[in-house]
C-alpha cells in the first residue's frame, strides 16, 4: 500500500508560552520552538504500522519552510520511507484551500492508495484534509480512530463520534482519511534517530516542480485572510472556594445539592 501522509510544523503549545503580538497580527514567535503537529504524528505512525503489516511505502509531505526539514526527518526516523518538502515563496500566507491545493498537486505526482492527514493542526482550522480529498475526488472520512485493511481494496474504519462512541464505516481505496489522536501510540524519535536520516535526501519542490499556478495559492490566491489575534479578557463568575479541604468539600456538596445536581 502506497501511503502519503501530510504533516505540518507547528509551535507546540506544551512547550511554548503563547503570547499575541501587540498589534494582533500574529503570535509572538521570538522564543518559539516547533514540533510536528501532534495529529500528524499519529497519522504517520498509523501509516508505518499499515505498511509494516501489509507492505508498501510511506511518503511524508509538508508545506513549509526550510525549518520543516527537521519535521520531515523526524518522521523519516520514525520509519517513513521518503519525504518531500513543498516550499516556495509563492506558497506563503496560503489559506486552507491554498494548502490543500499545493498538497493535491504533490499527491498527483504518484499513485497513492491512501492519503492521511491529521484531523487538525494545533494552529489551524481542521479544513485541509477534507478539501484535499475533494480536490483529488477521493472518498473521505474524518476523525478516524481505527483502520483495518479488508479484502477487495477496502478499509474498515472507525470514526469517533459524540461521547466517545465509534461509528464503523467501510471505505473504498484509494481514499483520504483524517486521523484522530489516540489511534495508536506513536513511537519515540530522539536526536540519534534524526541524525541517522542525515544522508536521506528530502527534495524541495516549488510551484514549478509541482506544475502549480502560483497565482492560485499563497497570499495571491487566499480567499480567507487573518485579521487579528487577541487574548480573551478575563470574565466574571468563577469563584474559588476557601478553607480547609474538608470545608471546601462540604461547601461544594452544599452547592451541588442546592442546584439539584446531587440529591
Amino acid at each position: 500500500m502506497e501511503i502519503l501522509v501530510c504533516v505540518k510544523k507547528v509551535p507546540d503549545p506544551a512547550e511554548n508560552e503563547i503570547a499575541v503580538r501587540r498589534d494582533g497580527s500574529d503570535i509572538d514567535r521570538d522564543d518559539l520552538v516547533y514540533s510536528v503537529n501532534e495529529w500528524d504524528n499519529y497519522a504517520v505512525e498509523e501509516a508505518i504500522q499499515l505498511v509494516e503489516e501489509h507492505g508498501g511505502s510511506v511518503t511524508v509531505v509538508s508545506v513549509g519552510d526550510e525549518e520543516s526539514d527537521e519535521i520531515i526527518r523526524r518522521e523519516l526516523a520514525m520509519g517513513a520511507d521518503a519525504g518531500k518538502l513543498l516550499d516556495d515563496e509563492a506558497f506563503h500566507y496560503s489559506d486552507g484551500r491554498g494548502v490543500a491545493a499545493i498538497l493535491a498537486h504533490a499527491a498527483r505526482q504518484a499513485q497513492y492508495d491512501l492519503i492521511l492527514t491529521g484531523a487538525q493542526a494545533e494552529d489551524a482550522a481542521a479544513q485541509v484534509g477534507g478539501m484535499l480529498a475533494a480536490m483529488l475526488d477521493l472518498p473521505y472520512a474524518s476523525l478516524v480512530v481505527r483502520v483495518e485493511v479488508k479484502e477487495g481494496d477496502k478499509l474498515e474504519i472507525a470514526r469517533e463520534i459524540d461521547g466517545g462512541n465509534l461509528e464503523i464505516n467501510e471505505i473504498d481505496l484509494p481514499c483520504a482519511l483524517s486521523i484522530q489522536t489516540g489511534i495508536n501510540e506513536p513511537r519515540y524519535v530522539g536526536i540519534r534517530g534524526i541524525r541517522k536520516t542525515a544522508s536521506v535526501e528530502v527534495p524541495v519542490l516549488g510551484a514549478a516542480e509541482l506544475g502549480l499556478d502560483p497565482g492560485t495559492v499563497g497570499r495571491a490566491g487566499a480567499k480567507v485572510r487573518k485579521l487579528d489575534y487577541f487574548v480573551p479578557e478575563l470574565g466574571q463568575g468563577a469563584e474559588i472556594l476557601q478553607g480547609s479541604r474538608e470545608e471546601i468539600a462540604d461547601q461544594l456538596i452544599a452547592r451541588l445539592r442546592g442546584r439539584g445536581v446531587i440529591q
Partner: protein
C-alpha cells in the same frame, strides 16, 4: 599410628566387587564426572564469549579487597541475620571441606594418597577443624531446610505467573550437602571404629558428626564396618560428582561463580556503563543499535550475574518498585534471564538460533520503566550482581526502537527543545531569583561575569513553584556563609541524570555538552548544587568540569570550621527524621553530612527510620523523568516511605533532594498524614535557623 588407622580396613582403592578392582570404577567415576562437568561449563561459558565486551581487569587491588570482604568475609550476609548466619556457616564449611573432598576422591584410585600439608600435626589440626565443620554444615542445612520448608519466608515465594516454587531445588541441594557430610563422617567413623577394634587409640572430637557416627556404628563387627566404609565412600563419590555437575544447572551455580562475580563486580557507584565498552563517544553514531535487545547484547559480566544469582530474594525484598507491586522484581529480572540463557544455549542439542527479543519476550516494557534506579538491590546483593546498568541498557534498546511510554515522550521532547522536561522557556530559568531581588541580586555567570562558585540549580528547582523555594533558600544560605556564587541562568540545561538512566543517551550527551560549555564559560572553580541527581550527574557522568559538592557537604564543612552557626528556630523543639535521598546516600555515600547539619540546630530532636535508613533507605518514588512515568502500582512508593516516617514518631521529614520533597509531599497528602507530618528540604530548614532569619523575624 596414622598408618595403623588407615590400614584397619581395606581402603577404597583396594576393594573389589565381583573381582573388579574398585580403583578402576572410582577412576572412571572421577574422569566421567570431571569430563561432564567440563562439558557443562563449556556450554555455560559459550554465551559469555559471544556477549558484549566489558573490561573488568582494572584496579586489581580493589577487586581483591571486594573478594576479601564480600566473598570470603561474607560481609553482606548478616544484613539478613538468620539466613546470613546460616549461610556463613555453610560457606565456611565448604571452604574447609573442599580439601577433604579432594583428598577422598584421590583415595578412590590412589592408595595412600596424601595431600601436601595434610599429614603430621597440621593434618591432625585440619581433621579436628573439618570434623566440626562437617557438623556445623549438617546442622546449618537442617535449620535451613526447616526454615525454607516449614516457615517459608515470603522472600522466597514465586508469583504464580513466574512458574513453580523453587523449594524443591533448595531442599534437594540441602539434602545433597547433608549426604556429603554424613557419608564423609560415616567413612571416617567406620575406619576409626575398626582401628579401635584393632587396638589403636583413636578418638573422635565430641559432639561431631564423626563422634555420633562412631556411637551409631558402635559394636559392629569388622565385615560390617568394612561394608559401611566402602558404601559410604561410594556414596560420597557419587553424590560429590552429581552435585558438581548439578551446580551449573541452577541457582547453586553461585557456589562456583561467586568468587569470580565478586572479583569482577562494579567498583564505582553512581556511574552508568557506556553504551558499548570500547566504543568512543564520537563513534556512537556508527553503532547500528544501542543497548540490549537480545541476550548476547548483554556484557559477559551481566550474563555471569545471571548464573550467579542465588535466588535469595534480598534485592526484591528491598526494591521499592516490587514493594508496591509494580511489574518489576530484580530477582526475576535475573532468574528469567538465566532460564532464557539455559533455553537458548541448551546442554544437549543445538543452540537456539532464534534471536528472540528480550523485551516483549521474557520482559515487559513496563517492567523496565518501573525501576527508579535507587540502587537498593545492588546494595543488598551478597554476590555483587548489578541491576541498574542492565536496566539502563535494556531501556537504551527500547529507546532506539522508539518504544518509549507516551508519558515520557513529552518530557523527553521538551528536554530536547527547551532543556527542561516541562518545555518552559529557557528565558525563565532564573525567575526563581526574582523573589530575592529585594535582598540581593543573583549573578548570572558567563564569560563577561565569571564567578568562583557556580550554583547549579537544576530544572525542578528552577521551574517548579514549590521547589523554587529550595533554590531561594540555597541562595540565602550560600550568601550567609559568604560564598560568592553565580548561576548559569538560561544557559543552564537539565543535568540529564534521568535522561541517561532512562536510556536516552544521545539526548543526555547533548544536554551534558551544552552544560559543560556553559560551566566552563562561567569561569567557576567549583560547583555546588542542592539536587542529588544533578550532583551525581556532574560528579559521575560529566568530565572535564570543576569539582562538585552537594550543599550538605559544604554546610557540614562550614560547621566544622566555624563558618556557620545555627540558632533556635521554628523546628528547634520538633522531632525530625532524615530521609536519605538515593543519589546522595547509596550512590555517593553522603549519609553523615546532612545529619550533621540537622544536628547543628540547637534543641532539635532527630530520630531514624530504623532498618530503613542510610544505605537501606527506601526510595521516595524516583526523580527526574520518574515523576512523569505512570506505572501500574498498588500504591505510591512514597506512601510506603511516609508510613515508615510515621512509625519513627517524627513530626517533620527532612530531605535533601527536591524530588524526594515532591514525592513525599504528595505521599503525605495521599496517606492523609499532611496535617500530622511535614516535609522540608534541608536547605529550607537551615535557612529558617540562620541567625539572620531570627533577627529578621524578631525585627519584623
Amino acid at each position: 599410628m596414622l598408618n595403623k588407622i588407615d590400614n584397619a580396613l581395606v581402603p577404597p582403592a583396594g576393594t573389589a566387587i565381583l573381582g573388579m578392582p574398585m580403583a578402576y570404577v572410582y577412576l572412571l567415576i572421577t574422569c566421567a564426572g570431571i569430563c561432564l562437568f567440563a562439558y557443562i561449563l563449556h556450554k555455560r561459558l559459550r554465551p559469555l564469549l559471544l556477549a558484549a565486551p566489558d573490561p573488568r581487569l582494572d584496579r586489581i587491588g580493589e577487586r581483591i579487597g571486594k573478594v576479601a570482604r564480600i566473598w570470603l568475609g561474607q560481609w553482606r550476609q548478616p544484613r539478613y541475620l538468620l539466613a546470613g548466619i546460616i549461610h556463613i556457616f555453610i560457606f565456611a564449611g565448604f571452604i574447609i571441606l573442599g580439601l577433604r573432598s579432594l583428598q577422598l576422591i584421590l583415595m578412590g584410585f590412589w592408595q595412600g594418597a596424601s595431600l601436601p600439608g595434610l599429614d603430621g600435626s597440621t593434618g591432625a589440626a585440619y581433621n579436628l577443624v573439618k570434623d566440626y565443620a562437617a557438623t556445623w554444615v549438617f546442622v546449618a542445612c537442617i535449620i535451613a531446610a526447616v526454615r525454607r520448608g516449614v516457615f517459608r519466608p515470603a522472600r522466597y515465594q514465586v508469583p504464580p505467573s513466574l512458574g513453580k516454587d523453587h523449594l524443591g531445588e533448595a531442599l534437594l541441594v540441602l539434602g545433597l550437602i547433608c549426604a556429603l557430610v554424613v557419608s564423609e563422617s560415616l567413612f571416617e567413623a567406620s575406619l576409626q571404629n575398626a582401628a579401635a577394634r584393632s587396638g589403636a587409640a583413636v578418638s573422635a572430637s565430641p559432639l561431631t558428626l564423626l563422634w555420633a557416627g562412631r556411637l551409631i556404628l558402635g559394636g559392629l563387627g569388622m565385615p560390617t564396618l568394612q561394608a559401611v566404609n566402602s558404601l559410604s565412600y561410594f556414596s560420597h563419590e557419587v553424590v560429590f560428582f552429581f552435585f558438581l555437575c548439578f551446580l551449573p544447572l541452577g541457582k547453586h551455580f553461585h557456589v562456583l561463580t561467586s568468587l569470580f562475580n565478586v572479583f569482577f563486580m562494579r567498583l564505582d557507584r553512581g556511574k552508568v556503563k557506556p553504551v558499548r565498552n570500547g566504543v568512543a563517544e564520537d563513534q556512537l553514531d556508527d553503532l547500528p543499535e544501542f543497548g540490549v535487545s537480545k541476550l548476547e547484547d548483554f556484557t559477559w559480566k551481566h550474563i555471569l550475574d545471571f548464573y550467579t544469582c542465588a535466588d535469595c530474594g534480598r534485592c526484591s525484598d528491598r526494591c521499592p518498585a516490587n514493594r508496591v507491586n509494580r511489574p518489576l522484581s530484580p530477582r526475576f529480572l535475573t532468574i528469567k534471564a538465566r532460564d532464557h540463557v539455559c533455553a537458548q544455549y541448551p546442554l544437549w542439542g543445538k543452540t537456539a538460533g532464534a534471536e528472540q527479543e528480550l523485551v516483549g519476550g521474557i520482559y515487559s516494557d513496563d517492567e523496565l520503566w518501573s525501576c527508579t534506579t535507587c540502587g537498593a538491590c545492588e546494595q543488598e546483593c551478597p554476590l555483587g550482581i548489578e541491576y541498574i546498568d542492565k536496566i539502563v541498557d535494556l531501556r537504551r534498546g527500547l529507546v532506539d526502537l522508539g518504544r518509549v511510554p507516551q508519558s515520557l515522550q513529552k518530557p523527553l521532547g521538551a528536554l530536547e527543545k527547551r532543556g527542561n522536561p516541562w518545555g518552559k522557556s529557557q528565558r525563565n530559568r532564573a525567575d526563581w531569583a526574582k523573589a530575592l531581588a529585594e535582598e540581593f541580586a543573583v549573578t548570572i555567570a558567563g564569560p563577561k561575569q565569571p564567578v568562583e562558585t557556580l550554583y547549579f540549580v537544576g530544572s525542578v528547582s528552577s521551574y517548579d513553584e514549590r521547589m523554587q523555594r529550595i533554590a531561594q533558600a540555597t541562595a540565602r544560605v550560600l550568601r550567609h556563609v559568604g560564598v560568592k556564587f553565580g548561576v548559569l541562568g538560561k544557559a543552564e540545561n537539565d543535568g540529564g541524570h534521568e535522561v541517561r538512566r532512562f536510556g536516552e543517551e544521545s539526548l543526555f550527551l547533548a544536554l551534558r555538552d551544552a552544560n559543560t560549555e556553559a560551566i566552563l564559560n562561567s569561569g567557576a572553580s567549583r560547583i555546588v548544587t542542592a539536587d542529588p541527581h544533578d550532583y551525581n550527574a556532574l560528579k559521575n557522568d560529566y568530565r572535564g568540569i570543576p569539582p562538585v559538592m552537594h550543599l550538605s557537604q559544604l554546610l557540614s564543612q562550614e560547621l566544622e570550621r566555624g563558618g556557620l552557626a545555627l540558632e533556635q528556630g521554628p523546628y528547634a523543639d520538633k522531632t525530625v527524621v532524615y530521609h536519605d535521598p538515593c543519589y546522595l546516600g547509596r550512590h555517593n555515600g553522603l549519609y553523615d553530612e546532612p545529619r550533621r547539619v540537622i544536628d547543628a540546630i540547637p534543641g532539635i530532636r532527630r530520630v531514624e527510620m530504623e532498618g530503613n535508613c542510610r544505605d537501606r533507605s527506601f526510595c521516595c518514588g524516583g526523580g527526574g523523568l520518574a515523576l512523569f512515568y505512570e506505572p501500574e502500582e498498588e500504591q505510591r512508593i512514597g506512601v510506603v516511605r511516609v508510613s515508615m516516617a510515621k512509625q519513627s514518631g517524627a513530626q517533620v521529614i527532612v530531605t535533601a533532594c527536591p524530588f524526594c520533597l515532591a514525592n513525599i509531599e504528595d505521599a503525605l497528602k495521599i496517606a492523609g498524614l499532611d496535617q500530622k507530618i511535614e516535609v522540608i528540604d534541608l536547605m529550607e530548614l537551615v535557612e529558617q535557623h540562620l541567625p539572620v532569619a531570627r533577627r529578621a523575624a524578631a525585627g519584623g
